[in-house]
């Protein structure tokens, strides 16, 4: 068989978990519940031979970030991964129960030139039984991505819902220069790639509806214009260059329109663009600031920020601009709305005592919940594709860095580090 194209990664299910089992599991695994102890045996891999392989390393990172699992350290493992069995019949489960594992992952890698296949299985250590398994085929480069997909599969098995790690996060960083440039990384913060290098202001990155490109506001031609950037190569094309702001181009989830902020006589208003960037219609008409549109997952409504009441607050309207109603009720400065992919809640940043904190609220304005707390400002929330996590920027340790949290705020983890500021994260949908 000939080499596969770079983005072509296939996957077969080896065995399926029952839905009933998943529902039982979800009551013992979840945010705020004790982390579930899992052992990740290194891949049985003729080529690699024992050292920590990218698949196992990435899988461990994902499961750790999920906040749901505790990874049992590999230096306590009793077996030689290269010589021991990989199926329920051949595994000596006593070797795993004695070190405290309740779940176990074992896998086999086969490498032929640039082609890689990995067969990975999840076991219940007490019951000596396989819970789920997947066979992945792709290129050697795809190894971390196979791990991300298996992490999502493990999370699906235990919670009944697919995990969020087969996805990417776009963000702005000053790590490489004087101005903010656009970067993209995997959801677990590996593989950071610089996308722009323009020596000018680049702002508000978001993903195209198909996830194959970014929309960004850039001053590269002087005015804050809206551009598309095709990935992975980074080719620019102009979407909108109306006089004044062309800000925050957000594709509707159905891919039919973009919501933007543009100026009418110096007054920022929300408008819709056609996919080619031409103006479709104006949605808001108010002397106040209207900015930061965020689509509902059914593409029927938009959340946005307006100071029409005298201070910035979160509002919702229908996608034709009708039925404007206020959603945020507490606080004097609420901005950056982000509508959850499940549709039930809107995340936003609220100014409290001189700093911003992340909140979520139901779309009818009830049940506001504070997600972040403590020192520094927490801003720019963006939802994971499964709607269980948020990425945001925080100044809690100095310069702004990106953090991951579950929606309850119980497990907040630093995703980026190093020099410069990291801001404006945008979490993509699932990769395929």
């Amino acid at each position: 068989m000939r080499a596969l194209p770079a983005t072509f990664l296939t996957c077969w299910t080896i065995a399926l978990a029952t839905q009933a089992a998943a529902q039982v599991r979800s009551t013992i695994i979840g945010p705020g519940v004790k982390r579930y102890p899992i052992a990740l045996s290194p891949l049985k891999d003729g080529a690699a031979g024992g050292a920590s392989d990218p698949f196992t390393r990435t899988l461990g990172r994902d499961l750790e970030l999920s906040g749901l699992f505790r990874i049992i350290p590999s230096d306590t493992y009793l077996e030689n991964a290269q010589t021991s069995g990989v199926t329920a019949e051949d595994i000596d489960f006593a070797n795993w129960s004695v070190i405290g594992a309740l779940a176990l992952v074992k896998g086999v890698a086969e490498r032929h030139g640039d082609e890689l296949s990995i067969e990975a299985r999840l076991f219940d250590v007490a019951q000596h039984r396989q819970l789920t398994g997947k066979r992945f085929r792709g290129r050697a480069d795809d190894e971390p991505r196979m791990a991300n997909r298996f992490a999502d599969e493990i999370i699906q098995y235990f919670t009944g819902e697919r995990g969020p790690f087969d996805s990417q996060i776009a963000f702005l960083s000053t790590r490489g220069g004087r101005f903010k440039d656009v970067y993209v990384m995997t959801a677990n913060s590996d593989d950071v790639r610089r996308i722009t290098n323009e020596n000018t202001l680049n702002l508000s990155p978001s993903w195209t509806a198909d996830g194959r490109g970014l929309v960004v506001t850039s001053y590269r031609l002087g005015n804050p214009d809206l551009f598309s950037i095709a990935l992975p190569r980074g080719a620019w094309s102009k979407l909108s260059s109306l006089r004044g702001l062309n800000l925050g181009g957000r594709w509707s989830p159905d891919g039919r329109r973009l919501a933007v902020t543009v100026e009418y006589d110096g007054n920022p208003e929300i408008a819709l663009l056609n996919p080619d960037g031409s103006l479709l219609r104006r949605l808001t008409d108010h002397w106040a600031v209207d900015v930061s549109p965020s689509w509902s997952p059914d593409s029927q409504q938009l959340a946005f920020c307006s100071d029409r009441s005298g201070s910035p607050q979160i509002y919702v309207m229908a996608a034709d601009g009708s039925g404007v109603r206020r959603v945020s009720t507490a606080g004097t400065y609420n901005t950056s709305p982000s509508w959850a992919p499940k549709g039930d809640r809107i995340a936003y940043a609220s100014r409290i005592g001189g700093h911003f904190q992340i909140f979520t609220v139901k779309t009818d304005g009830s049940d506001a919940r504070q997600v972040t707390n403590g020192p520094g400002s927490n801003e720019d929330p963006s939802w994971s594709p499964d709607g269980r996590y948020l990425v945001f920027s925080s100044t809690r340790r100095g310069a702004p860095k990106l953090y991951l949290t579950d929606v309850a705020g119980t497990n907040q983890v630093e995703l980026t580090e190093g020099k410069g500021s990291d801001t404006s994260p945008a979490w993509s949908g699932w990769l395929e």
Partner: protein, 175 residues
């Protein structure tokens, strides 16, 4: 103040601005590469503006231009008495120099979110533009641009510094 003396300063400032504009533009074309080709950087006002100054690392140096900044309260685009007075002086200078156009830049302090501050900066620039028009300056001599909180001239987290950053900056452009 002596009218001739002011005129002399203005002419000198203009020569300085023009010279700065030229040198920063040359540097710019080396740095920006393909991205700036056909970019419409022919607008002279851009080369003396805050973004061009930031590109060459000179933003925040003393403002020597003939037009003076105005300042705003937190989360406000209202023109207070001091701002109106400064705008009247700026309008007078524009009347005395009828061939000069002006770009009004709206800026914010960093205690807000990026997109909201870009919108607020647009409102601040528009507020000054509308006041200048009311004072008799032709609408087509005035353009506006918002830089939000992206180009601060002061980096400290103090009220004095935030107040300096909440500004409209006026960049004259030759005829």
């Amino acid at each position: 103040m002596n009218r001739w003396w002011v005129g002399g300063v203005v002419v000198l400032a203009f020569i300085a601005l023009a010279a700065a504009g030229c040198s920063s533009k040359k540097k710019g074309s080396e740095l920006e590469g393909a991205g700036a080709q056909g970019a419409g950087l022919s607008d002279e006002s851009l080369s003396g503006g805050s973004l061009a100054l930031a590109k060459s690392g000179r933003l925040g140096a003393a403002d020597t231009g003939p037009l003076h900044d105005i300042h705003f309260d937190y989360d406000s685009f209202e023109l207070d008495e001091t701002a109106r007075q400064t705008l009247q002086e700026n309008a007078q200078w524009l009347k005395d120099n009828p061939n000069v156009r002006v770009e009004v830049e709206g800026h914010c302090d960093d205690r807000g979110t990026v997109e909201y501050n870009l919108a607020l900066g647009a409102k601040r620039a528009a507020a000054a533009k509308n006041y200048l028009i009311a004072l008799g300056i032709s609408r087509d001599r005035i353009t506006t641009i918002s830089y939000g909180e992206e180009l601060p001239i002061c980096q400290e987290e103090t009220e004095e510094c935030w107040a300096r950053n909440r500004r409209d900056h006026f960049v004259p452009a030759g005829s």
